[in-house]
């Protein structure tokens, strides 16, 4: 009785809205290399904006991707290849609907990568950059100028905070959240206060924080609501001895100045993460984030 043909064609006829319900549970690799190439109805469903709002490239198991080598490949043989190629293939499906883009922890992002990304994903609201980058400040500036809707940026390495904050201040009118993982000094604090006075959320988690910079920020950044100082290493200048002093405890002076914030996060005494040695060369390794530490964040909107 059963008509063989009808069973063969059923999944081609699955209504688009149900296909989308299935596809939202898949990662981008399955969408791009798998379902979008199955049949025309499945391919059509892949253009649904909801599938592309958040692109988390750190969740993609890139080691599973087979990449045919091509002589005229414009990218050099670097790990970022795979990620950029995946990103390239997303462009036509996502059609400007990506609002959140998370790069993987371990890739090298090059100037051409970030400029290309900014040109094609102009509507980003949230961007998470990899642990390290090889970006010239000019490339980062160009990219930021394209991201006018950017509200949240997590950027581990910042080589020229003043230029970066200036670009953000000029371009991103709704910018409210920043997470960095590099030393926070007075220049950085000054740049934030001057260029992005509307900043509400700042995470300095696991960084080296200069006391004068922190005090300047707390006194001058009027709209700041949330500050994360967990696992930070504090630095202050000892002018008499002419040296820097490193310590873990957040002083009363800081706590008092932070009392107006809605949320002020710092470590309790005997925090296990903070026990990583701070003397000699060891403390520098503190910046060598591992991936787990990079994802973790006490401020929910910045967690990965």
């Amino acid at each position: 009785m059963k008509n063989k043909n009808s069973t063969i064609t059923t999944w081609n006829d699955m209504p688009c809205d149900i296909l989308v319900k299935i596809f939202v549970a898949l990662d981008i690799l399955d969408l791009v290399t798998g379902v979008s190439r199955v049949c025309s109805a499945w391919r059509a469903a892949c253009f649904e904006p909801i599938l592309w709002r958040k692109i988390d490239l750190s969740a993609v198991k890139t080691d599973l991707v087979e990449i045919p080598m091509r002589a005229d490949d414009s990218f050099e043989d670097e790990p970022s290849n795979i990620v950029m190629l995946i990103l390239k293939s997303i462009v036509k499906f996502s059609r400007g609907n990506v609002s959140s883009l998370i790069f993987p922890f371990h890739i090298s992002l090059w100037n051409e990568d970030i400029v290309w990304t900014a040109e094609r994903f102009r509507n980003l609201k949230r961007l998470v950059l990899p642990a390290r980058n090889r970006l010239d400040i000019e490339a980062l500036e160009d990219a930021i100028m394209d991201w006018k809707d950017l509200e949240s940026l997590s950027i581990p390495c910042v080589y020229a905070p003043c230029v970066m904050m200036k670009a953000i201040g000029a371009s991103c009118k709704n910018f409210t959240e920043l997470k960095i993982m590099c030393p926070f000094d007075i220049d950085f604090a000054h740049a934030i206060v001057v260029q992005t006075p509307q900043l509400k959320v700042l995470s300095l988690r696991c960084t080296l924080v200069f006391k004068d910079a922190l005090l300047f920020l707390l006194l001058n950044l009027q709209h700041l609501e949330v500050l994360n100082l967990t696992h930070c290493l504090m630095v202050s200048h000892n002018r008499e001895a002419g040296c820097l002093v490193l310590y873990r405890e957040i002083e009363e002076e800081i706590i008092k100045n932070a009392s107006n914030l809605k949320t002020f996060l710092s470590c309790k005494k005997a925090c296990p993460l903070c026990k990583i040695p701070t003397n000699g060369e060891d403390f520098l390794k503190w910046y060598d984030y591992d991936e787990r530490n990079w994802r973790m964040e006490e401020i929910p909107s910045l967690a990965i």
Binding site: T7, I8, T9, T10, W11, N12, M14, P15, D17, I18, K21, I22, F23, A25, L26, D27, D30, V32, T33, G34, V35, S36, R37, V38, C39, S40, A41, W42, R43, L64, V65, E66, I67, P68, M69, R70, D73, I82, L85, I86, K88, S89
Partner: protein, 163 residues
């Protein structure tokens, strides 16, 4: 034992009629887990026979079986209910073939059984993950309807080194 008989409350029964004429008598509390039936009961009352022209008896039966299990589990105010439901859901979808899965998903979606739709879509997604195009077509008995040139173009464009 005696305690189980005391928990039987006086629930109303609904009559549901599938597209092939098969009828089901179901407790209202069970059937109204399905959004579509809940709406019908709220709008038109539960006195009349509820006709469901888009679902046949086999799949309506399966959907109701799932609702019944979940309704029963939830009446036991045990904390382990979630675990029981999860375990039972796993059993429920474990051996579904793609054809049954297709019709069940269509039925659950038509009846607005949100939780069941979530369960089934996740099952389908798990059958897709990590598979190549040909393997997906094989799994779901899908024939490519791309024109020959079109398919070649998509394949070429998607070879991770395009444009």
């Amino acid at each position: 034992m005696s305690s189980s008989s005391t928990t039987t409350t006086t629930t109303r029964l609904l009559m549901l009629k599938a597209s092939d004429g098969v009828t089901f008598e179901v407790e209202e509390a069970v059937a109204t887990k399905l959004g579509a039936i809940n709406n019908m009961v709220e709008e038109e009352g539960s006195e009349d026979l509820i006709c469901l022209p888009n679902v046949n008896g086999k799949f309506l039966g399966m959907v109701l079986e799932w609702c019944k299990k979940h309704a029963n589990n939830n009446t036991n105010s045990d904390k382990g209910n979630d675990e029981v439901n999860k375990w039972w859901d796993k059993e429920f979808v474990m051996d579904l073939d793609q054809n049954t899965l297709y019709h069940l998903l269509m039925a659950a979606d038509y009846l607005s059984g949100t939780e069941l739709v979530d369960l089934l879509t996740e099952k389908v997604a798990s059958m897709i993950r990590g598979k190549k195009v040909e393997e997906i077509r094989e799994t779901f008995k899908i024939k490519s309807d791309f024109l020959p040139g079109q398919e070649e173009e998509i394949r070429k464009k998607n070879s991770w080194a395009f444009e």
